[in-house]
């Protein structure tokens, strides 16, 4: 997610969708693949998927909106996820998150004005023995304090 994503064409969407049709239960793999490629699931993809799977566009939308992962619009260049779950709370995650949101001038799920960082809550990263934990794109970070968070945000261009 470090570079701006290219604008999707219907042809590309079709290629991605048909690449997964051999799977048993292809819808989640399709949505993941689209989001991986374009940084979000483009609106026009819904009809393409619906046609390919022989379901309605509303059904595709219903599935997509059920899951926290799928985005209708692209995120910032980097996504910072901060764990809000109990083990991280036991190590001060709540205060860390509050200060981070304040620094970024945004609420949960928001993106900084310069488009560099989207910040999301996450409920456990499996890093509970080195809490508080965070993830920048796919990179995990443990024992996050203010100094570490500042460095991560700086590197992400926030």
């Amino acid at each position: 997610m470090s570079a701006p994503m290219p604008a999707p064409t219907e042809e590309e969407v079709r290629a991605i969708v048909s690449g997964q049709l051999h799977l048993e239960g292809p819808l989640l793999p399709i949505l993941h693949d689209l989001q991986h490629t374009f940084g979000h699931v483009p609106r026009m993809a819904l009809q393409v998927i619906a046609d390919a799977l022989n379901i309605t566009r509303a059904e595709v939308h219903g599935v997509m909106s059920f899951y926290h992962d799928f985005r209708e619009v692209p995120a910032g260049h980097h996504v910072v996820k901060i764990c809000r779950a109990e083990a991280c709370q036991a190590m001060g995650a709540e205060a860390l998150a509050a200060r981070t949101l304040e620094k970024l001038g945004t609420a949960w799920h928001g993106t900084t004005v310069n488009g560099a960082v989207t910040v999301e809550p996450v409920y456990c990263l499996g890093l509970c023995a080195c809490a508080p934990a965070a993830m920048v794109d796919d990179r995990v970070v443990g024992r996050v304090d203010d100094a570490k968070m500042d460095r991560l945000l700086r590197e992400a261009g926030a």
Partner: protein
């Protein structure tokens, strides 16, 4: 010389990749012949990154290591020296059956896996009938490690006896509970163990296809598992002729999409089928009508990864560990505010207080322990008064708690239990699949009611109690049904935190 630097994501989160680079660079600049190997984690997360220098077959540990420590480690003068890793108290006190190889081997080296006992269980299973395999698992006393503790052998028997043209093995790797990471450690540190367990399950019940439903929050585990499946296929461990047995078993990794409720087995199956992850009413049991309507074993990662050692060493060996009806060992995950956090596998029966105060060394902050949540976000908060409770399914049940996936999260006295109760309701509201009103609406009301208590409205406490009763009685699955556990245990065991005075309210 061989030097091991973990690739487990907890180690990476603490800088292991930089340490591995520093070791390679420093060794090269000295002209040393060093092979840098990446292992899983031993589970001593407070010592990560834990570097091991292998000399004459003994692995000497150093930790926690930063890149700046590397020259001294190579000089033999490092003050991070811990001695032989296998002799450390944390390691010696465990009985590692499921986790025997995690942190020891290179996770993607199949020959390393075999050299450490891997595939012995599958080889034995290949020579057995399906019934014999299932009987072995039944006799081991293994109970599902995903939370409910249902006997694995009984579930397998149902699938074995079901008549169908296709059956499936589905591994539940959704591991959403806060304070748990054992599934992740297995998948990143010993993926072939899970693959072997699934293959044995397939031979046992007559399934030829397996899936691992792996949460998207675990990108490292996804990468390791996908690679392990490729390696396994190339080596003939997976495919049309498993290890030359003439029997087929293959598998795929499926990635979740950030919904806690999809760890519930029927929601998981819906999700895999490409539907909204709403919970299905039971019956039908997934064992009879599971994935694509076919008989399906749904088991947790730990349940399946324990099957190889049961087949290798025999049911009696496994059942020889444990306490009462909680047979075998449990990989306990100790997390939150503790001095020593990590994974500790031991036979059931150790008192909770020994785990918290002795094994984990008390709090990281040095302040008194206030509460311990066992079993994830649906588990009760236990009070230090309950520290003599032995770690066992029935014992925890009697203490008004549950073991779940065996996450132990410790809080010091700065924790506000009203806030934790509020969080439990908030989490339920965020993650509810929406099917039942008591869960979907009740959790939102729960947050509001706790806010009233926080403002000093003591009359809201009986309302909260009633609401919890409604959620318990009227919810289809344990998300709505068990959220009352953390909430009411906080209210009942930490009443001072709920006795807010109006003037003190913010």
């Amino acid at each position: 010389m061989r030097i091991w630097v973990p690739r487990d994501s907890a180690a990476k989160a603490l800088g292991a990749d930089d340490v591995a680079k520093a070791v390679a660079t420093e060794a090269a600049s000295r002209g040393l012949d060093v092979e840098v190997k990446r292992n899983g984690t031993r589970g001593m997360i407070w010592l990560e990154p834990l570097v091991e220098v292998e000399q004459d077959g003994t692995r000497m540990g150093f930790g926690p290591v930063s890149p700046a420590d590397v020259p001294a480690i190579l000089d033999g003068t490092s003050d991070k020296a811990l001695g032989a890793v296998d002799d450390l108290d944390w390691m010696r006190r465990q009985d590692r059956l499921t986790f025997a190889r995690v942190g020891v081997i290179d996770p993607l080296d199949l020959s390393d896996y075999e050299a450490h006992g891997g595939l012995a269980g599958l080889r034995r299973a290949i020579a057995m009938s399906g019934e014999e395999i299932v009987t072995e698992v039944t006799e081991s006393g293994l109970r599902g490690r995903g939370g409910a503790g249902f006997p694995t052998g009984i579930k397998w028997t149902t699938v074995l006896n079901a008549q169908a043209d296709r059956k499936y093995i589905v591994c539940n790797a959704d591991e959403g509970d806060s304070g748990t990471f054992a599934d992740r450690m297995i998948m990143e540190g010993d993926p072939f163990c899970l693959i072997e367990g699934m293959a044995i399950a397939g031979l046992g019940v007559g399934a030829t296809k397996g899936y691992v439903y792996l949460r998207s929050e675990y990108p490292d585990a996804i990468a390791v598992m996908e690679e392990a499946v490729r390696v396994g296929r190339a080596a003939g461990l997976l495919g049309g002729d498993v290890l030359g047995s003439g029997k087929a078993f293959d598998m795929e990794i499926r990635v979740g999409a950030g919904a806690y409720v999809c760890g519930e087995e029927t929601s998981l199956l819906n999700s895999m089928e490409g539907k909204r992850g709403v919970v299905r009413a039971k019956p039908p049991l997934p064992a009879l009508e599971g994935f694509m309507g076919k008989p399906t074993v749904v088991n947790n990662v730990l349940s399946l990864a324990t099957v190889p050692v049961i087949l290798e060493k025999g049911a009696a060996h496994y059942a020889g560990f444990g306490l009462g009806r909680s047979k075998g060992t449990m990989p306990i995950q100790i997390a939150g505010n503790v001095k020593r956090g990590g994974l500790f596998e031991t036979g059931f029966g150790m008192p909770l207080g020994e785990l918290v105060n002795d094994v984990a060394g008390g709090t990281a902050s040095g302040r008194p322990v206030k509460a311990v949540q066992v079993g994830g976000p649906l588990g009760a908060y236990l009070h230090p008064d309950q520290f003599d409770t032995p770690f066992g399914y029935e014992e925890f049940d009697q203490a008004g708690g549950l073991i779940g996936h065996a996450g132990v999260v410790v809080f010091d006295d700065s924790a506000d239990m009203l806030k934790m109760a509020r969080f439990a309701m908030e989490f339920c509201a965020v993650e509810s699949c929406g099917k039942c009103t008591p869960c979907r609406i009740g959790a939102v009301r729960g947050v509001e009611t706790i806010d009233r208590i926080a403002e000093g409205d003591a009359e809201a406490i009986p309302l909260l109690t009633d609401l919890c009763k409604t959620m318990k009685d009227g919810s289809l699955c344990a998300l709505g049904g068990f959220t009352p556990f953390p909430v009411m245990s906080a209210v009942e065991r930490f009443p001072d935190d709920f006795a807010r005075h109006r003037e003190a309210a913010e």
